[in-house]
């Protein structure tokens, strides 16, 4: 840890992020701007999530980092090593042993507890971005809770394709007020956002926004009465552990069309296979 403050960020930056986090918790789903710092890795590699993690982390914390559910991919390994080096904290790959879990694009299959915090890496915090590219206008729409355009977008999918064709980053309504991006988690994970016991914090580094979903908050995936939200899951069982309830990755095994499905959550899979 020589040459760094604990957890890399200076104390004034941590205070600024901590104030943003507290306001974000008080206004569930609302994007709070913060003074994002330049981090020693590029935008798109989780700079927002890392800053949130650095601001909350203490010496007693045990950190788990996943990338698409896996503990052993480059992004997850790099971030875990980063915090082991700049904060000297313990790390783990076991969901149940972690007090802070930073995630890129998945929610662990194992149900999270009230004493855990889930930190999401968010590339695009603005759920209306593809409908309203102007930030000024999008902020106005959130202020007025004017979300008609999003419902029209879902309706057009149903009219043209018969179903909502959003497989990840499926928009949600948090606490019946704000339409929020759940970050690019598969729609399969959306039901886990609803009334989760753990605090959920979202950090977008390039866009410099922090938002939160407090424990036990109502989170509804947008849908229509006659077209209810249906999370998608590949129809199959994990080739390693046999799970039929987990989110599956499709893996090509040769160049003759061979393929298999395996759990995206490596800790869940290893725990079942053991």
């Amino acid at each position: 840890m020589r040459g760094y403050n604990f957890a890399y960020l200076d104390e004034q930056t941590k205070r600024m992020i901590r104030r943003a986090i507290l306001k974000a918790v008080a206004i569930p789903g609302h994007q709070v701007p913060f003074g994002g710092r330049e981090m020693p890795l590029p935008y798109g590699w989780g700079t927002g999530g890392i800053q949130v993690t650095a601001a909350i982390l203490g010496p007693q914390d045990v950190l788990k980092v996943i990338d698409q559910g896996a503990d052993d991919t480059t992004n997850a390994v790099s971030i875990r090593r980063f915090f082991a080096r700049v904060a000297g904290i313990a790390t783990t790959t076991r969901t149940t042993e972690a007090s802070v879990i930073q995630t890129r694009h998945r929610i662990p299959e194992t149900k999270l507890r009230a004493d855990q915090i889930l930190v999401y890496q968010v590339p695009q915090p603005e759920p209306l971005y593809r409908l309203e590219p102007s930030r000024v206008a999008a902020r106005r729409l959130h202020a007025l809770a004017e979300y008609g355009a999003m419902h029209v977008r879902l309706y057009e999918d149903i009219a043209r394709l018969g179903a909502v064709a959003i497989s990840y980053d499926y928009p949600v309504l948090v606490n019946r007020r704000y339409i929020t991006s759940p970050s690019p988690i598969p729609a399969f994970d959306n039901p886990k956002l609803h009334r989760m016991a753990a605090l959920q914090l979202f950090g977008a580094g390039r866009e410099k926004r922090i938002y939160a979903i407090p424990p036990y908050t109502e989170v509804r995936s947008l849908d229509f009465e006659d077209h209810p939200f249906r999370p998608h899951r590949a129809d199959g069982a994990c080739a390693l552990c046999g799970a039929r309830d987990s989110y599956l990755d499709e893996v090509l095994t040769d160049d003759r069309g061979g393929r298999m499905f395996v759990c995206s959550d490596t800790d869940y899979c290893a725990g079942r296979a053991a």
């Binding site: 403050n5 604990f6 104390e11 004034q12 941590k14 205070r15 600024m16 901590r18 104030r19 943003a20 986090i21 507290l22 306001k23 974000a24 918790v25 008080a26 206004i27 569930p28 609302h30 709070v32 701007p33 601001a55 909350i56 982390l57 203490g58 010496p59 902020r139 106005r140 959130h142 202020a143 007025l144 606490n175 007020r177 704000y178 009334r195 016991a197 605090l199 939160a212 979903i213 407090p214 424990p215 036990y216 908050t217 109502e218």
Partner: protein, 191 residues
């Protein structure tokens, strides 16, 4: 008023501020839950310990602070250890009140930037005893009772504040070393 106060701040500023922040974060995400952010911190009276801990943790030169005159003995300590400038009530990010201020005198944020609503630090006579209140909203699995000796008129103050959502103030109730948070998203009624 001497520039250097008699009392120190956090003995270990990095880890003490982190531990206090996590306690405050727990309180903010579980309305009504009672925490002790830095129970052994020495603060100048009549400042509640929890209020001192919260300001050391969160206030700095970037945050405007408003102090009720009753807390003038703590002014030098807060100024030295946080560097927070004192500003008029309507512009303060942190309001350290003695009694309940009128809601329209404090910053409530705007519809587009509700996060600009102030954090109101309110000393109370007791937490965990006194009148029973029922809380519901984000952070609570079911409506939850909590007891506190809240100032006269608090129920009406809170009803007006909660109705402004997403605008509004977030309240930190402090009794000695103990703290409970009422984020603006919480609904409160007499139990």
């Amino acid at each position: 008023m001497s520039a250097v106060p008699d009392l120190p701040g956090f003995p270990d500023p990095v880890t003490d501020a982190q531990a206090a922040f996590r306690a405050i974060l727990w309180a903010q995400s579980h309305p009504g839950a009672i925490v002790a952010p830095a129970p052994t911190l020495a603060v100048p009276p009549p400042l509640p310990i929890a209020a001192g801990a919260l300001l050391l943790t969160l206030a700095d030169a970037d945050t405007g602070l408003w102090l009720d005159p009753i807390f003038a003995p703590a002014r030098a300590w807060l100024r030295f250890h946080t560097g927070a400038p004192e500003v008029p009530l309507s512009r303060a990010g942190f309001v350290l009140a003695a009694g309940l201020p009128a809601l329209d005198t404090i910053g409530l944020g705007s519809d587009e930037a509700p996060q600009d609503g102030a954090s109101l630090i309110l000393p109370v006579a007791a937490l965990g005893e006194g009148t029973r209140w029922r809380l519901s909203g984000p952070g609570l699995a079911a409506s939850t009772d909590f007891a506190a000796a809240l100032p006269e008129g608090f129920a009406a103050f809170w009803a007006a504040n909660h109705a402004l959502f997403p605008r509004g103030v977030d309240v930190f109730l402090c009794a000695g070393p103990r703290l409970a948070a009422l984020p603006r998203s919480a609904a409160l009624e007499v139990a």
